[in-house]
Assembly symmetry: C2
Homo-oligomer: 215 residues x 2
């Protein structure tokens, strides 16, 4: 049992309600950190209470339980990604340019919301909340595939790779950043675009230097 | 408690030793399946016994515990990847061709050993076994980065992206296949190279169709 919980009991309900320290956003940030470390399934409310240094009842003051924390965290990542897709849909530009804008926007979301996106990428569908999140991810992926198909019809994307496979490879590349990108380490803010430049250079033009460029 | 465990107790030690059904490889295959579903930290020996339909003591007949199963599974993936690296090192070919051979060989390992590679990619370093596996992964990544650097020095790889970032993007792309590639779904055996062809086309030459090819 955490010291926080003991203190909580001593303080009584009135003190709990007014407890300073964690608002919902702060609580969510810590919960996501623990979910990413131990896995969502491997995390108990007691684990969360211990890490937060508060009692479980103080968590229940904000949310109905662990799954609501998961839903809030996944929605935060998904809402940001869908906001990018909406901006891209509104662009008056060829499909290949919209595809690049979608990649760049998604990388910006990953950089700004790294723990939330990391959690989203690890969702396996064990709960209703996870299955809803997976359904939203699939809708996003369908939009990517639609852009690739359109860019291929425009003659801007190589026709020798299946559009669905291309879409998966492209966002596989984007999502793989969550495995190693860490905000501080690259000396920039979340708004730094050098990572997006590198991904777009490799994904759109390949890492091979064309023979013509070598002369 | 599983029925298997009850049966186990009734049968006694002599019957346990001769128990048919699971050799170590079979036991490992099921354990890896459960680890991938529930997470390693979230899996207990009791979970494994239930899925196997045998008693925990029958598992202890083969291994000292859960962590030994993890070590055997991770070594299986890592040994296969290092065997590819050794073959590539022995090739008498330019660095860019060796890099492509390493990518193709790694994809073949991922296709043939998907559950083991999936488990490896999810390792976070919570135990000594996981930290050893991460150290071996880093050694593999260093070899990739070394090949990229060499290919860049040869003038075969674009110089505008940092070799370490390029190496990470390239294997981020390869590793992302574990998220969606499923052997049956693509109608081929593990030896099917169309996936490797698609990855190499995108990674080495980019998904953009060069202007010259559009005429």
């Amino acid at each position: 049992m955490s010291e926080g919980r003991v203190a909580d009991r001593a303080a009584g309900p009135a003190a709990r309600r007014g407890r300073p320290g964690y608002d919902l956003a702060g609580l969510l940030a810590v919960a996501v950190e623990v979910f990413n470390e131990r896995g969502y399934d491997g995390t108990t409310m007691e684990d969360l209470a211990q890490r937060l240094g508060i009692g479980k009842s103080a968590i229940y003051h904000h949310v109905a339980g662990k799954e609501e924390l998961l839903r809030l965290a996944l929605d935060r990542a998904l809402d940001s990604l869908f906001a990018v897709a909406d901006r891209v849909r509104a662009l008056d530009a060829p499909a290949i340019d919209r595809l690049e804008a979608l990649v760049r926007g998604s990388i910006a979301v990953l950089q700004a919301e790294l723990p939330y996106v990391t959690l989203l990428l690890r969702v396996r569908g064990n709960t209703g909340t996870e299955r809803s999140a997976l359904a939203r991810r699939r809708a996003f992926d369908r939009y990517v595939a639609e852009l690739v198909r359109q860019a291929e019809a425009d003659g801007d994307v190589r026709p020798d790779v299946d559009p669905l496979v291309t879409a998966r490879l492209l966002f596989g590349l984007v999502n793989s950043l969550a495995e190693w990108y860490r905000p501080g380490r690259h000396g920039g803010t979340g708004a730094d675009s050098s990572l997006a430049d590198a991904v777009c250079a490799v994904a759109f033009d390949g890492l091979r230097l064309p023979a013509a460029a070598r002369e």
